[in-house]
């Protein structure tokens, strides 16, 4: 049986990456995720991978662009300001359809902001972020265990769809320790053969491989885009992941991801103790978003509360999903503040008392 370890989220993520066959890591220090780089500096060279502290995030992402083109498992990690710098490179990677793993351990913004946790890069993560019509698969872990699990999943999805996969998490999940168990994972069995496109040197008698995002002819570029969109549709259809907590009999649900989902979970437990039928839907993939599931739930509940550590970003996707079927309220904290369970319970309470008023009159 695999042993249970107590680890920081950042370190669990790094350890999982090595176990998933990470061949190269490129990154630049930034709080609150420097432990990732520091852990890999100590461990990765001993265990068969290359690591380099780059001179900037712009360099890091372009190193990833180069390394990913060889078809190996490669990654970078950063936090919000650094992720902004990476957008141009990610756009190239998405267009060139290179598999790789990216990590954004979010902090409060905008600007230099704070190093305390935030969830305010949601739009940037799920709507593209850089220029052009592209998407990444965005995974949102809710525990240290998922910080590890989603690394394996991330690499597998990246390889399967030739797409950058982003783990979108925050400073608190990165810094906190919980138990983690690393699954048995046979790297060889999971590796995908990329020899048909990877640039590893032209084989005698076979076609050259070119990695590019330049398609000057608009007809060709439109076809490239159509191909990308088709791929995103397949992903929307097949790769939605979420956790539903006590939603079966719920007449009201909270929707939240990552850390705010953990806090919301406590709030609904408290609500249940007070006799309220509240549930929680926690998207584990933010792209693709569990729209259909939410739409279906909206048929059974009277209202939805979205909780985020932002001014309200995911709430837009929730509203699109339920398409006006039920009222969607929002509660958020910003700037590195984390909502407390009691605050969320208050919001839930408000909903119930409002409903009571509506039913009475």
């Amino acid at each position: 049986m695999a042993t249970k370890l107590l680890m920081k989220g950042n370190e669990a993520l790094a350890e999982a990456a090595i176990r998933a066959g990470l061949k190269a890591y490129f990154g630049y220090p930034i709080t609150p995720q420097s432990e990732l780089l520091e852990y890999l500096v100590r461990e990765l060279p001993k265990r068969g991978g290359a690591i380099l502290q780059a001179e900037s995030e712009i360099a890091s992402i372009n190193m990833v662009y180069g390394a990913a083109a060889t078809g190996e498992r490669v990654m970078t990690s950063t936090s919000s300001p650094g992720f902004s710098l990476m957008q141009e490179g990610i756009s190239y990677i998405a267009c060139a359809e290179l598999p790789c793993l990216l990590v954004n351990v979010m902090r409060g913004g905008p600007g230099l902001g704070t190093i305390q946790p935030g969830q305010c890069d949601y739009f940037q993560a799920v709507k593209g972020g850089g220029h052009g019509d592209y998407r990444m698969i965005v995974l949102a872990p809710g525990s240290v265990q998922e910080m590890a699990d989603f690394v394996y999943l991330g690499f597998d999805l990246a390889d399967k769809y030739r797409i950058p996969v982003l783990i979108l998490t925050d400073g608190a999940l990165g810094q906190m320790m919980e138990m983690v168990e690393f699954p048995e994972y046979d790297i060889e069995a999971h590796l995908v053969d990329h020899s048909s496109w990877a640039t590893t040197g032209k084989k005698k008698g076979s076609e050259r491989h070119i990695i590019t995002s330049l398609f000057l002819d608009p007809e060709i570029l439109e076809n490239v885009n159509l191909h990308l969109q088709k791929k995103y549709d397949t992903i929307r259809e097949k790769e939605v992941r979420y956790e539903a907590v006590m939603t079966d009999d719920a007449d009201f649900i909270v929707v939240a991801y990552g850390l705010s989902a953990r806090v919301s979970h406590k709030a609904i437990e408290m609500g249940r103790q007070e006799g309220m039928k509240v549930g929680l839907l926690r998207p584990q993939t933010l792209f693709p978003f569990p729209s259909e599931q939410l739409n279906a739930l909206a048929d059974h509940v009277n209202g939805i509360l979205v909780v985020e550590m932002s001014a309200g970003q995911m709430v837009e996707d929730v509203r699109l999903s339920v398409n006006g079927k039920v009222p969607v309220e929002f509660y958020g904290r910003m700037g590195g503040m984390i909502p407390a369970p009691e605050e969320i319970l208050n919001e839930i309470n408000r909903f119930y008392s409002q409903k009571l008023i509506e039913e009475t009159f």
């Binding site: 609150p32 400073g171 608190a172 810094q175 320790m177 919980e178 850390l259 984390i338 369970p341």
Partner: protein, 183 residues
């Protein structure tokens, strides 16, 4: 059964490692645990704190505003966290570093002269373990054996020779809060 604990003091007093030791001991006893540190410049500025949650069940929120117990190693931390302890909860405070003791009457307050005892034991760094011992005396949520096993995980290899000194400090802390035998 869930215990929600706040540990707070100056950076350098072993606040974070005390919490980590307690959390790791919980792991050895098959419990669910969370250790959540304060991080960033706040630590350079002097204060550090962590939340430790030990539970038999899945732990939902790692972020909580109210605690069952608080282990407090300096005055600013007491000022900050005294009112976050739940009614009927407990406060353990280090008496050398706290000038104005807690005034709450709806919680149990334990004064622990850990700094002084650490000097007596010639183990100034053992202050945090004395506090932990005192805490465990009143709350045997994990065994001393598990704590010692946890220390092996928390301390870097080169500091493993300090474990026996830490054990002494733990036991001293327990003694400090043992009820005097009535004659």
């Amino acid at each position: 059964m869930t215990n929600e604990i706040k540990i707070a003091g100056f950076g350098g007093q072993g606040v974070l490692s005390m919490g980590m030791t307690l959390a790791y001991a919980g792991v050895f006893e098959g419990k669910q645990v969370v250790w959540m540190p304060s991080y960033g410049p706040e630590m350079r500025g002097g204060t550090a704190n962590c939340t430790v949650i030990i539970s038999n069940d899945r732990i939902s929120s790692p972020i909580i505003n109210q605690f069952d117990m608080a282990i407090i190693l300096n005055q600013p931390s007491l000022d900050k966290f005294e009112n976050t302890v739940k009614p009927m909860g407990q406060i353990f405070y280090e008496s050398n570093n706290v000038i104005n003791p807690p005034t709450r009457e709806d919680v149990s307050v334990f004064e622990v002269p850990a700094a002084l005892e650490a000097v007596n034991l010639k183990n100034a760094k053992g202050m945090n373990m004395i506090m932990l011992g005192a805490f465990l005396e009143k709350n045997p949520i994990v065994s001393i054996d598990s704590i010692l096993k946890a220390l092996k995980k928390v301390l870097p290899e080169r500091h493993h020779h300090l474990i026996s000194a830490n054990e002494k400090a733990l036991k001293r802390g327990m003694e400090l809060l043992q009820n005097p035998v009535l004659s």
